[in-house]
Structure formats: structure tokens, C-alpha cells
């Protein structure tokens, strides 16, 4: 009937709007060529954007929407990372690898998956909060910081779990790898940052407690460490969370610089060239100089930023992408201001 067509109930549309309003994008990864950007949402969906189209001069509305969106898991996707062949997603449940070719063909298939070892709680599967890939000597290893306080390390060639780093007393937020030595760093909800040597995985090499350091402790925000990063020379470590963002010298284990972000807890940090990028529970991305001065403070759409990634794969698509508590992905072409926003819908 024409009448019914005219007044079709739009409950579906309403639901979509509600869902979009409450979408949080936790993670993102650029495709090996740097032409596509995949983001993982709180609804377990992976959306793929064609950023070379979005950034082109004659882009239109449609280019700001995902070229493809699929449901990957039931729970939220907390982390995404990529190898030259696979897009690896994790969050609730197994670590799943998707072949980039399949994803771009819009026929995603699970290429392989790695189960998280059964936990002692038995209540819910521990989540994966951080993924890191190390490719050295031809072999590839995947690091996963998990909700059961452990960090698991798999060999990607054989798909076998090679090591487990246990010792944190609360869940692991973030994993960072040292590039020159066989070491890694983990930051945890328990407030400690632990430095592990993979040759002696039973005990951490060192334990840093930023919450007990007067210059960076903030008891009102708690002890937790939400992000850690190590610079390419392996000399410096930056970490933040409940305590202020702080720069530590890795040989002396002493704080050298404290970056103050009043009222905000940092959830993401990384080294980029000579600067440190950090973001957290405020709608800004901070760029810092090593000496503690703020280089810039770039406003962005999400009120809470979960991840900032720079597309270093392709020179002509070199952008800084910001995701967080919003259905929008902010792209900054010159890192100084937001150029455009992509929308997951």
C-alpha cells in the first residue's frame, strides 16, 4: 500500500542514530599500502575507510563514510594492528587475523585466530588491551597485554604461545617494545610499569612506580598506567594515566620530565620524530617537546581520545588520525589542526 510505504516505521533508523551517538572507536590501523584505514568500534565492528579518496581534492560526503563495515566480534575491539598481510583485531575473545585482501574485497574471513589461555577467574574471558608486533630476524612475534594481568607472546610463524609475562597485580593496559634489545615494557592498572627481558621472562628486570613519585602522582585519579611508549634509541620511556605523563630514563630509572595535563588522564602516548604525542580524557591531542614544553594542543572531536596513529606507510597520505569516544575519526594532514572527520555509520 502506498500509504504504508509513506509512513514506514523508522525504528531502525532511530536505533542506528542512537548507536552512532554511543559509538566509541578504540583502535585503528592503516593498511600496508597506507591507502586504507581500519577502525574498531565498541560494537565489535570494523569499518574500513578509503583515506586516499577522503583526502583527495574532490572528495564528497560519501568518501567520509566507510567503504566497508563488518561485524568482527560480539564485544568491543580494543586493539587493531597490522602486518604486511593481515589485519589483526583483539578485544573480547580471541585474537583474530583478517586477510587485508579479503577485507578490501568486502568478503572478510577469519584467516586465523589465537585463543587467550583460560583464566583463573572463569567468569569472563579476559580482554586484550594492547597488541604489538615485533618482526626481527625474519620471525614475527605478537605481544598482547591482557585483562588477566598477563602479557602473552605468540610466534606468528607457528601460531604457538611462546612466553607469558606474569607479575602485574591488575590488568595490563599497554605494551611497548624496545627496538634494539630483546626487551619489552608493560603498563598496568596496578600502577606499575614493568620492564621485561624476554630471556628471563619469570621476573621483570625493573619495576617503575610512577604513583610513588611525588612529581607525577595524582591520587585523586588513581594509580593506573594507561599508556607506555619507548623511543627508538631505547633510552627513554614515557608513561601516563592516573599519574601525570612522565618521561623516564631507562638506564637510571629516574624521572627526567613531567608533562602536566590538569584534569585529564592520558590514555595514549607515542614518540614521533623529536616529539611526544599524547592524548586522553579531553578533546585534545598534545604534542610535547622532550624538555616538557608543550608544542601544540590540537582540538579534536572525541571527548576522550583512545588512539592516535600516524600513517607513515604512504608519503602522499601522511596523516595523523585520532579516534575515541565518538563515531568520528579525525584526520589531521599537517598535525596542527583537524582537516576532516570520517564517520562510522
Amino acid at each position: 500500500m502506498a500509504g504504508t510505504l509513506q509512513f514506514r516505521d523508522h525504528d531502525g533508523a532511530q536505533e542506528a542514530i542512537r548507536k552512532q551517538l554511543h559509538t566509541t572507536i578504540f583502535s585503528q590501523a592503516f593498511s600496508p599500502g597506507g591507502k586504507y584505514l581500519a577502525v574498531g568500534t565498541s560494537f565489535g565492528e570494523i569499518a574500513v575507510f578509503n583515506i586516499s579518496a577522503s583526502l583527495s581534492r574532490n572528495s564528497n560526503e560519501e568518501d567520509m563514510k566507510p567503504t566497508f563495515l563488518f561485524k568482527a566480534t560480539d564485544g568491543p575491539i580494543y586493539c587493531l594492528t597490522t602486518t604486511d598481510k593481515f589485519l589483526i583485531s583483539a578485544g573480547t575473545g580471541d585474537v583474530i587475523a583478517w586477510n587485508w585482501v579479503d577485507v578490501l574485497r568486502k568478503t572478510p574471513k577469519v584467516a586465523w585466530s589465537l585463543p587467550i589461555p583460560t583464566n583463573r577467574y572463569g567468569l569472563s574471558n579476559p580482554e586484550v588491551n594492547s597488541l604489538a608486533i615485533e618482526s626481527k630476524d625474519g620471525g614475527k612475534r605478537l605481544f598482547a597485554g591482557c585483562g588477566d594481568n598477563n602479557t602473552y607472546i605468540w610466534d606468528l610463524e607457528s601460531g604457538s604461545l611462546v612466553q607469558t609475562l606474569a607479575g602485574h597485580t591488575d590488568y595490563v593496559h599497554s605494551v611497548a617494545l624496545k627496538s634494539l634489545s630483546d626487551q619489552c615494557v608493560t603498563g598496568s592498572e596496578d600502577g606499575t610499569v614493568r620492564l621485561w627481558d624476554l630471556r628471563t621472562p619469570q621476573e621483570p628486570v625493573a619495576v617503575i612506580e610512577p604513583y610513588s613519585e611525588v612529581t607525577c602522582a595524582r591520587s585523586e585519579y588513581g594509580r593506573w598506567i594507561g599508556c607506555v611508549a619507548v623511543d627508538p634509541t631505547d633510552d627513554w620511556l614515557v608513561c601516563g594515566g592516573g599519574p601525570k605523563l612522565s618521561l623516564w630514563h631507562l638506564r637510571t630509572f629516574a624521572v627526567t620530565t613531567v608533562f602536566d595535563t590538569p584534569g585529564a588522564c592520558q590514555q595514549y602516548t607515542s614518540f614521533f620524530e623529536d616529539t611526544i604525542i599524547s592524548a586522553g580524557s579531553e578533546p585534545y591531542v598534545n604534542h610535547w617537546y622532550i624538555n616538557g614544553d608543550r608544542r601544540s594542543r590540537v582540538p579534536c572531536t572525541p571527548t576522550s581520545v583512545c588512539n592516535v596513529t600516524i600513517n607513515s606507510e604512504a608519503e602522499n597520505n601522511k596523516v595523523l588520525s585520532v579516534v575515541g569516544s565518538s563515531a568520528k575519526v579525525d584526520l589531521c594532514t599537517n598535525f596542527g589542526y583537524k582537516a576532516l572527520s570520517l564517520t562510522v555509520c
Binding site: 502506498a2 500509504g3 542512537r18
Partner: protein
């Protein structure tokens, strides 16, 4: 001697001159003292008047020549050298005497001169005086002239009064007023008399007016009392009718009644006929709990029917006439009549058919929905007026939702977007514009709501400009619409019940939903009140709901407040008119130490998601009825968990303000440290989603 003589002369001259010069001084100074001298003075003055100046001149010349002669003869004698001293002496005395005469003449001349000057002065003064007088008089003349013109310009009030003509006046007025003998020749008296007559007449008319009004009042009172009497007859007649009903029933005469209704149905306009037919068929077939009847004046319907054929012919003519008339009017600019006519035209446009179809839908215990459908003859649409007769055990008396059952709003958005505020027939818009009735909504209170579903039930479709009646349209919507009507009444009543208890601070949770919530929730609802769209729109943390059209002007807005200890949770609730089909949307601000909103705290955003997105878990089976209270209850539960798991709670010294009553294996989880808002009833614990 000769040498000394001129000196002596000079001395004498000096002597003689001196008194002459000083004379006036002495005179003035001595005047008051010396009576004698004044006497001389006066005598000299009088002398002046007596003497002729010309004579004095002659005398003067004579004296001068005598002196000259004396001097000459003396000199001659001296020249001869034999100066006879006696003769010389005599001559000298004579000459000297002549000087006296000269002195006298000189004095006289002075006095005369003074006199002349005085008289000149006097004359001058007189002239000035006369001049002044003249000016005064001229001024007076001017003033008087002004007065005269003023008087001439004066207008009496009576000139404005439109008096009876002179001839009529003499004809009509009694002689004691008209007094022809005086007034015929004196126009002033005539005017006075005419004014008097006018006054007399006016007095008489006003008395007449009062009298008439009194009689009118009397008559209207009479009419009123008669009307009252007639009205009192109505219940009596009704009771008589009621009394005869059992007889009819016992004689099994109901068949006639139906027959009669069907007979009446013949006179229904087509759309209402379709509606009547379809609804009675639906009633017979599927739904015994509804009643269909026809109400209204059958006779009037018959006349409308017969008129309609004629009108179709007349319409075109009358249109032309109207146009011409309106042209004429615009020329004459007679506003009052044209606006009256416009009003009449508007009324004509909104005129409805005298017959209406009444549909009564009984909804179990909740009450009866009373729908009156009428057909607008000119606009060719069907409108409905709604009344809800609530059942006995329906809770009423809440403030915030008092208009939920109001006839105006109870059926809005029965189908999405169908607010029933504008006419569904696109062709109507032109006619409405022509009579400058810009918005149809203004007339809804008069004619009822033209909901789209009403048109469907009447088989009217307005996809093209001309309405087509179609039985299929009606029958295909009948079932769905009746279903929706019932559900709407039920949901509105249940919403009202929920609001009533929310207002009292209690969140009712029915037994079937008990398992969704933990046994203990420590935060309490402290207030629940109605809010407005504008208040809502002003809140920064609600902006995203308005931007994405989840909160519209037509929705109902509530503000509620919950408390636990020093923490406060303010919830803005948006209830759609389509509730519970469209679930309520909420936005919160949590006030504890600082204000937490979705703008600065991800956990608040998650809290809102618990009710805005995951509401599906709060609905069991088909019943949506407890949705709002369940959402509020979940909000309270999340409020508890937020406080119990918030980092600041434990960091403070001494016992925590909010003891951990809920069991949650993980306080936080994931990168954004989500809180365990999800309740697992089997284990009685809380986890993250």
C-alpha cells in the same frame, strides 16, 4: 591827558562791562534776598515786552553815531589845538551817557533772546506730548480691531448640530417653542428656538430607547425561562425513552434499530460511509469490544445531499461574483464587511457534514476510547475528536504527565510523524491560503484532528490531488489502526501510572522484571518533574540528542534527580509521544566533587548507553509497558556502581563514602577503564559489557 584818556576809556569800559557780565550772577544770587533788585528785574522784563526791538535797533544806531560824533568833535578840537576843556568834558559826558544807553539795550537784547528760547522749548514739549498721545491711540485702535476680528471668527457649538430644516421646524414644533412672531424676523431667536426643539426631540428619543431596551430585556428573560423549561423536558423525555427500551427489547425490536442505523448510513458522505461500513464489518468479524454508531441530524443531512448537486452548478458563478465583489470592496475599502465575509467564508470552508460516525473502543479495565469522526464538506477530509473515558481503577492525579491523556495529544504520532496538525489533502492548502488561513492547526480545536490514519480508515488517499475513496485502503488499515489505538491507550495509561509513582519518588518494578536488578539499590529518586524543550535544549550535554533528532519539540521532557550521600544524579528524560514504541532517551549529569557529563567522562557516556541503547534487555515479551521505570531503575543501579567504583571514592582517607555493596570481579576493564554496569542476575555480580 591824551595819553591817559584812552586808558581811562578802557577802564570805564571795563567798569561798565564788568557789572554787565556779572549782572546775571548777582541777579541770580541776590534774587531771593533783594526784593528791590528783583523789582527792577521784573520791570526790565516787562519793559522788554513793551518795547519794539526795531526801535531799540534804531536807538542803538543813534547812540553809536552820537558817540562817534562826540569822539570826532573832540578829536577835531584836539587837532585844532584849542581844546576847550569844558566843551570836551561835556562831549565826553555825553558820549559816556550814550554808553549807558548801549548797556541798557544790550541787556534788553539778552532778556529777549532768553524769552524766545523759553517759548521755543515750551512748544517743543507740547509737540512731544501730542505725539505720545497719538501713539497710544493708534495702539488702542489696533487692539480693538483684533478684538473685532476675534469676535467675528467665534463659532458657536450649535453650528455643528445638524438641525431640522427651517420649514420642517415651523411645521412640527409647537408654537410655544417656535414663537413664529418673534423668530420669523430675528434669525438669532430662530436658531435658539430650533436648538430648543432639537433638545426636546432628543430627550424624547432617549426615553424611547430606554423603554425599548427594557422591553427587550423582558422578552429575552422570557425566552430564557422558556428555554430552561424546554431543556428540563429533555431528561424527562430521555427517561421515557429509557423506560420504553425494555419493552422494545422484550418485543425483540432491535432489528428495527439496526435497520434504522443502516437507513441513516445511506445519508452519510462517502468517506464516512466507508468508515462506518468497514468498522462495523470489523466489529462483527473480529472485535466485539467496540461499538459503531451514527449521530447527528438526519434531516439536515438530507438537505445537504440535495444541495450538493445544485451547488456544483452554482459554484462557478458564485466564484465570479465573489471576485467581482471583492474587487468592488477593495475599491471602497470597507474593511468591516469584508472581514465579516472572510470569516463567513472560513466557516463555510470548515463546515462539516451534520452526520458523524462514533466509534467506541473498550480497552479492558483501562477505559473506553471515544472517537467521533466528521467529514469536512469543502476540504474533503475526515477529522476525529477524541475522548478517553478512563476506567475505575486508573490512577490519576500526577502533575508531570497531566496532559498525557488530553484529547489533543493522546493520539499524536500513532503512526510515526503523524501529528494530525496539518491537512493531509494537498489540494486544501490552496484554499486555505486563499482565505489567508495559513496554519490549519489553529482550527483543530474546532474541527478535530485530521490524522492520516483517519483518512486511511475512510478510504481516502491523497497521493494525487483529487481524493479517491477506496475500500481496500480502509480495510487494510483497519486492523492495524485499531490495534494501535488500543495499544496507545494502554501505554498512555501505564505511562501515567508510572509517572504518578515516579513523582512520589518510588520506582515500581513489577515482579517479572525483578530479576533484572540487584536486590539492593542505595540511591534514591528525590524528584520528578516536567521540563520543557527549551530548558532541555539549553543544556550542553543534551545538544547531541537534539542535533541527531532524538529529542524533538513534540516530545515530552522530564527532569529527575536521584541522590546517594553527597552525590547527585540529574537525569533528563525525553519521552516520545509514540512511547513505548520509541523508547525514552536520557542524558545525565552526575554531581559529585565535579560535574560529570558525557562531555568529560566516558563512564557517563556508557551509563547513558545502558538505557539508550541496551533498553532491549528491559523489555520482556511483547509488553513494553514498564520500560520507563525500568530504565530509571537501571539508571539508579548504574549511579550506584559509578560511585562505588570511582577512583576518588577509595583514595580518600578514612572509610569510603560509598561502601562497596555490589560484587564486581573487575572494577575497571579495557583501555577506557569501563565500569561494570552490566548485571548478571544468575551470579548476582556486575561485569563490563
Amino acid at each position: 591827558m591824551s595819553a591817559s584818556s584812552p586808558k581811562e576809556k578802557e577802564k570805564k569800559k571795563k567798569r561798565t562791562i564788568r557789572p554787565e557780565i556779572s549782572a546775571p550772577k548777582i541777579q541770580v544770587a541776590k534774587k531771593p534776598k533783594n526784593e528791590l533788585s528783583t523789582g527792577r528785574q521784573f520791570s526790565e522784563e516787562d519793559e522788554v515786552e513793551k518795547r519794539d526791538p526795531l526801535d531799540d535797533l534804531k536807538e542803538h544806531k543813534q547812540a553809536c553815531s552820537e558817540i562817534r560824533n562826540s569822539i570826532k568833535s573832540i578829536s577835531a578840537m584836539k587837532d585844532a589845538g584849542k581844546p576847550d576843556t569844558g566843551e570836551v568834558e561835556e562831549l565826553r559826558t555825553q558820549g559816556t551817557l550814550q554808553f549807558l544807553v548801549l548797556k541798557k539795550l544790550n541787556r534788553l537784547a539778552h532778556i529777549r533772546c532768553k524769552k524766545v528760547r523759553d517759548s521755543t522749548n515750551e512748544a517743543k514739549q507740547k509737540i512731544d506730548q501730542y505725539h505720545l498721545q497719538l501713539q497710544n491711540l493708534l495702539y488702542e485702535v489696533m487692539h480693538l480691531q483684533k478684538e473685532i476680528t476675534k469676535c467675528l471668527e467665534f463659532k458657536s457649538k450649535d453650528e455643528e448640530i445638524d438641525l431640522v430644516g427651517v420649514e420642517d421646524f415651523y411645521k412640527e414644533a409647537p408654537p410655544e417653542i417656535s414663537r413664529p412672531e418673534v423668530t420669523k424676523n430675528d434669525p438669532h431667536q430662530q436658531t435658539l428656538a430650533r436648538l430648543e426643539w432639537e433638545l426636546e426631540q432628543r430627550k424624547r428619543l432617549s426615553a424611547n430607547f430606554k423603554e425599548t431596551q427594557n422591553s427587550k430585556n423582558l422578552i429575552s428573560q422570557d425566552i430564557k425561562s422558556k428555554k430552561e423549561y424546554l431543556e428540563s423536558l429533555q431528561p424527562k423525555l430521555v427517561s421515557i425513552m429509557q423506560a420504553t427500551k425494555p419493552v422494545q427489547e422484550s418485543l425483540n425490536m432491535r432489528f428495527d434499530e439496526i435497520q434504522e442505523q443502516h437507513q441513516t448510513a445511506q445519508h452519510l458522505p462517502q468517506p464516512l460511509y466507508v468508515l462506518y461500513m468497514q468498522s462495523s464489518a470489523y466489529k462483527e468479524a473480529c472485535d466485539k469490544n467496540m461499538a459503531v454508531s451514527i449521530e447527528g441530524d438526519v434531516e439536515a443531512a438530507k438537505t445537504v445531499e440535495s444541495q450538493q448537486d445544485q451547488e456544483q452548478d452554482e459554484d462557478s458563478d458564485s466564484d465570479q461574483e465573489e471576485q467581482e465583489q471583492s474587487k468592488r470592496k477593495s475599491k471602497h475599502r470597507r474593511h468591516t464587511t469584508s472581514s465579516d465575509r472572510l470569516e463567513q467564508k472560513r466557516e463555510k470552508l470548515l463546515k462539516s457534514h451534520p452526520l458523524t460516525v462514533v466509534l467506541e473502543i473498550k480497552c479492558k479495565e483501562e477505559g473506553t476510547l471515544h472517537l467521533v469522526f466528521s467529514y469536512l464538506l469543502v476540504l474533503k477530509i475526515v477529522t476525529v475528536t477524541v475522548k478517553l473515558l478512563p476506567g475505575k481503577d486508573v490512577v490519576s492525579g500526577n502533575i508531570s504527565g497531566s496532559d498525557l491523556l488530553a484529547p489533543d495529544s493522546i493520539l499524536t504520532c500513532l503512526y510515526p510523524g503523524d501529528e494530525g496538525k496539518s491537512t493531509p489533502n494537498p489540494a486544501n492548502q490552496f484554499e486555505l491560503n486563499r482565505l489567508s488561513m495559513d496554519s490549519f492547526s489553529f482550527y483543530i480545536s474546532k474541527v478535530g484532528h485530521p490524522y492520516l490514519w483517519v483518512q486511511w480508515l475512510s478510504g481516502l488517499q491523497f497521493l494525487t490531488a483529487s481524493p479517491l475513496t477506496n475500500d481496500q485502503v480502509s480495510s487494510s488499515h483497519m486492523e492495524e489502526t485499531i490495534r494501535r489505538l488500543r495499544r496507545r491507550v494502554a501505554s498512555r495509561l501505564s505511562l501515567q501510572k508510572q509517572l504518578a509513582s515516579l513523582e512520589h519518588g518510588s520506582v515500581p518494578v513489577s515482579s517479572e522484571y525483578m530479576s533484572l536488578f540487584p536486590p539492593k539499590i542505595s540511591s534514591r529518586l528525590v524528584s520528578w518533574r516536567r521540563s520543557t524543550y527549551d530548558d532541555f535544549a539549553a543544556l550542553p550535554y543534551c545538544k547531541h540528542l537534539i542535533d541527531s533528532c532524538l529529542a524533538k519539540d513534540s516530545d515530552l521532557f522530564f527532569t529527575t534527580c536521584a541522590e546517594r550521600g553527597s552525590a547527585k544524579l540529574k537525569v533528563e528524560v525525553v519521552v516520545s509521544p509514540d512511547y513505548p514504541r520509541t523508547p525514552p532517551v536520557m542524558a545525565v549529569v552526575l554531581q559529585w566533587r565535579t560535574d560529570h557529563t558525557n562531555l568529560n567522562d566516558v563512564n557517563i557516556r556508557d551509563m547513558e548507553a545502558e538505557v539508550n541503547i541496551h533498553y532491549g534487555e528491559l523489555i520482556k515479551g511483547k509488553s513494553h509497558d514498564q520500560l520507563l521505570t525500568n530504565q530509571i531503575q537501571r539508571m539508579l543501579m548504574c549511579f550506584d556502581l559509578f560511585l562505588e567504583t570511582e577512583a576518588g571514592n577509595e583514595a580518600m582517607e578514612g572509610p569510603a563514602e560509598f561502601p562497596k555493596e555490589k560484587i564486581c570481579p573487575r572494577m575497571t576493564r579495557g583501555p577506557i577503564r569501563s565500569k561494570p554496569y552490566k548485571y548478571l542476575p544468575q551470579m548476582g555480580i556486575f561485569t563490563q559489557r
